[in-house]
């Protein structure tokens, strides 16, 4: 088979095309040469074709168990089912980079195809900048992390197997979705750089960037939610967020992206905050790149990190210097120092959105600081760990501030809000939210500060959103009024409700989870909260590539009504010898019942078992999905579909103009 070689050649060709894409159109835009600018689109198509070919070649090597390819030998095994063989393509460092490059080419292609209405210069610059990024990643793959390398001698007869943790549906989907998000921010980044290069930072630029940013953000949201869900059921600890550096690496671009999405809304609608918005666009993508560096350089300790390799770290650091350093230099030199003359008052929606932008950026920098602090401390000869207790504390302050201002912002109007309106609306939110804040925690059990705070915020946010919808519907009534609203308005409502759902889930699961480590033998029963966990028997099974101890548990209510069966497992993967726990989970909208099997204790079938009852844990991921759905709905708004006929928006829009309503974070 020469398949891997073909893949390698395709990758080299893609590299060449990316270099052309990164240079010719940009020079063309600089010289004003239409022919040179015009090659951007064909190059984008060719690049996508070549990288797809490389990716297909690697996938085929996996499917056909070609263990002469070092990467395949290290990450696959003949016993693996075919779908895991396929997902093993991105199960390791090299292949996941190739996936990254594939997705970047995909986004580049999408921009090339969907940019008919854009000025030629803009298209050339945007595609050129994306080409530059891809040159960086392709050179990284080719020079340090080639997945097509062969083992010329000692070809193993079987592979070293895919990490059992990755043999899971959640992890098949998690990296592609996450990368769609990370890489998707490169579009907003490219638009920002193109605008800086061309000196045209205007409302039109914001409108072009907006849908791309929102789509990328939605992908990232789902990707993070999926990762959290996976950690919850696969790691067997029952936790859903660990503040591990790798998780932080995905949270930072998400926070910055959220800020960007809202800032773009203001820039498009009111022509404000241009400089800030450009900076956020650079910031969001830079943080995505930074995440890559943190995960792959081995500079930080993480549960999820790829094998440490300083040489690769050096290379990514160089990429960071060029892309982030370069773009920030360009920003410092070319960002408009001119303040727009558009006025807005302290009580306007603009002001509140700016406040929330600042809070989001402070949150991003807090996560960044907390993640990098141990590294800096180490430089000064101190060993410090920064973990969950620190971040939880910080977010206990930042999240409330964010939600309070979000509620106030939703109650305000563009340009200026009459003082009377805010004075009437805001107390109303509080009047409803304070009782909710006490009633729900009391109903759940103990009254704690964080539970009261969390429920207050959720209620505050839901009330503000409902009032906003009511205001929007006006006299038309709820049903007709709601149908009349634009998709972007609906998207915004959904997104904010999603955040409220997330807050409810996070608050209740962290305050009212009950868990207990117990010693159990078949026949034993243990009561936890309102549930009785009965250990029926233990099975010893053989899976396709593992041996398993499987417990059979029956859960009953305290009245003796059977609720269901749970089957926690402990697996030993034969090839790698890894031990894995598969938690037994019974999911529910109101609570999850969760059992993880621990060690076998001395005695006949005596097991250490951890039982959990986790109220509202599903709401975490439901909230994430709602947010992503909101984003998706918003980009389906009409005005993004009929771009050709649409003039660029005017920087000044009157606050009563209902026709151009918007994305998350705004209404008119």
């Amino acid at each position: 088979m020469i398949l891997p070689e073909l893949g390698h050649w395709a990758l080299i060709l893609a590299f060449g095309i990316a270099i052309l894409l990164a240079t010719v159109p940009l020079i063309g835009a600089w010289l004003g040469d239409r022919l040179w600018m015009g090659v951007a689109r064909p190059f984008a198509v060719a690049q996508m074709l070549m990288i797809s070919a490389a990716f297909a070649a690697l996938s085929l090597s996996f499917l056909t168990d070609d263990f002469s390819v070092k990467y395949v030998a290290g990450n696959s095994n003949t016993l693996l089912p075919w779908y895991y063989k396929l997902s093993a393509v991105w199960g390791g460092h090299e292949g996941s980079l190739l996936l990254w490059a594939l997705i970047l080419s995909g986004w580049t292609l999408a921009v090339a195809l969907l940019s008919r209405s854009l000025p030629e210069e803009m298209v050339a610059r945007v595609l050129g900048v994306m080409g530059i990024v891809n040159v960086g990643f392709l050179s990284f793959i080719l020079f340090t992390s080639n997945p097509f390398l062969r083992l010329l001698t000692n070809t193993p007869t079987d592979g070293g197997d895919l990490n059992p943790l990755l043999q899971d549906i959640g992890l098949i989907m998690h990296p592609p979705l996450l990368y769609m998000g990370y890489v998707g921010f490169s579009v907003a980044f490219a638009f920002a750089i193109a605008a800086l290069l061309g000196g045209q930072l205007d409302a039109a630029w914001a409108r072009w960037s907006r849908p791309w940013t929102t789509v990328a953000w939605a992908f990232l949201t789902v990707g993070i939610a999926l990762g959290s869900w996976w950690a919850y059921y696969e790691l067997g600890w029952g936790g859903w967020w660990f503040w591990d550096p790798v998780e932080n690496a995905s949270l930072m671009p998400w926070l910055a992206g959220t800020a960007l999405m809202h800032s773009l809304a203001v820039t498009e609608k009111r022509g404000l905050f241009k400089s800030w918005t450009v900076l956020l666009a650079i910031f969001a993508f830079s943080l995505s790149l930074l995440g890559t560096f943190l995960v792959r350089s081995g500079i930080l300790t993480s549960v999820h990190a790829f094998a440490a390799d300083p040489a690769r770290g050096e290379f990514v650091l160089m990429l960071l210097l060029i892309t982030i350093g370069g773009s920030l230099t360009l920003y410092a030199l070319r960002a408009p120092a001119v303040k727009s003359r558009i006025s807005f008052s302290e009580r306007s929606r603009e002001t509140f959105m700016l406040v929330n932008n600042i809070i989001l950026v402070v949150a991003t920098l807090t996560v960044l600081g907390g993640t990098l602090f141990p590294l800096a401390a180490e430089y000064f000869g101190k060993e410090v760990s920064v973990g969950a207790p620190y971040f939880n504390l910080m977010f206990m302050v930042l999240a409330p501030a964010l939600v309070i201002f979000l509620g106030v912002g939703l109650s305000s109007q563009w340009k200026d809000t009459r003082p009377g309106v805010l004075l009437k609306q805001v107390p109303l939110l509080a009047v409803v939210s304070v009782p909710v804040a006490f009633v729900i925690p009391l109903w759940m059990g103990e009254l704690t500060f964080s539970a009261v705070l969390g429920m207050f915020l959720a209620s505050w946010l839901i009330m503000a959103t409902v009032r906003d919808v009511q205001h929007k519907c006006g006299s038309r009534g709820w049903r007709v009024g709601w149908l009349k609203t634009t998709r972007s308005f609906k998207g915004m409502v959904l997104g904010h409700l999603g955040l409220a759902v997330l807050i409810i889930g996070a608050t209740l699961v962290s305050n009212y989870t009950v868990e207990k480590d117990v010693r159990m033998t078949p026949g034993d029963a243990h009561t936890l909260g309102d549930w009785v966990f009965r250990f029926d028997k233990m099975d010893h099974l053989q899976g396709p590539n593992y041996l398993s101890d499987q417990g059979h548990f029956t859960v009953e209510t305290t009245e003796g009504k059977v609720v269901g069966q749970l089957h926690p497992e402990k697996r030993r993967y034969v090839v790698s010898g890894n031990m894995m726990t598969e938690a037994g989970i019974m999911a529910g909208l109101w609570r999850d019942l969760y059992i993880s099997l621990g060690e076998k204790l001395p005695g006949d079938e005596v097991w250490a078992v951890r039982l959990h009852v986790k109220p509202f844990v599903r709401w975490l991921w439901l909230g994430g999905l709602l947010m992503a759905l909101g984003g998706t709905l918003a980009v389906m708004d009409k005005r993004y579909r009929f771009r050709r006929s649409k003039p660029a928006p005017q920087p000044e829009v009157s606050s009563s103009d209902a026709s151009s309503a918007a994305l998350p974070g705004e209404t008119s």
Partner: protein, 169 residues
Amino acid sequence: MMAAWLMRAAAMQLMRVGLILGFTLALSVHAAVEVYDFTSDEGYARYQSLTYELRCPKCQNQNIADSNADIAKDLRREVHRLIEEGQSDDQIVDYMVTRYGDFVRYKPPFNTATLILWVGPAVLALCGVGGLFWLGRRRRQRQIPNETSLSQDEQARLDDLLSDHESKK
């Protein structure tokens, strides 16, 4: 038990040499469950929160509650013992710090070295608020008819931008 230890130790060794490709998470991630009896429920609650806030010295990045590394087991045993002996949370954390340094605390202490970590976010927020006020003041100043804050160059670019919108209308 012994065999598992050997496997793990061997795996650690392999990792040092850099033979393991891809994720290193593989090093036996299975739930660490032990059964300790506490004389009071309060003791059990303290055990849960303490093991959650203490970092396993050997692991990649895990608290001692989740890790099933041998050292994490030992530390859990110590936490249980010290709680049952009636030691306070601070005493137990001190006990760990004496042996393993500040590294074991997921919640770093507040001192001059960590000042920036604890105060940084507040300072940033203040900068943000300050920036907002500054922006607001400038804007109000700009309402005054004769604008002197813009240089000629800046004015030219502003006009350029505005005329650009004009032409697109």
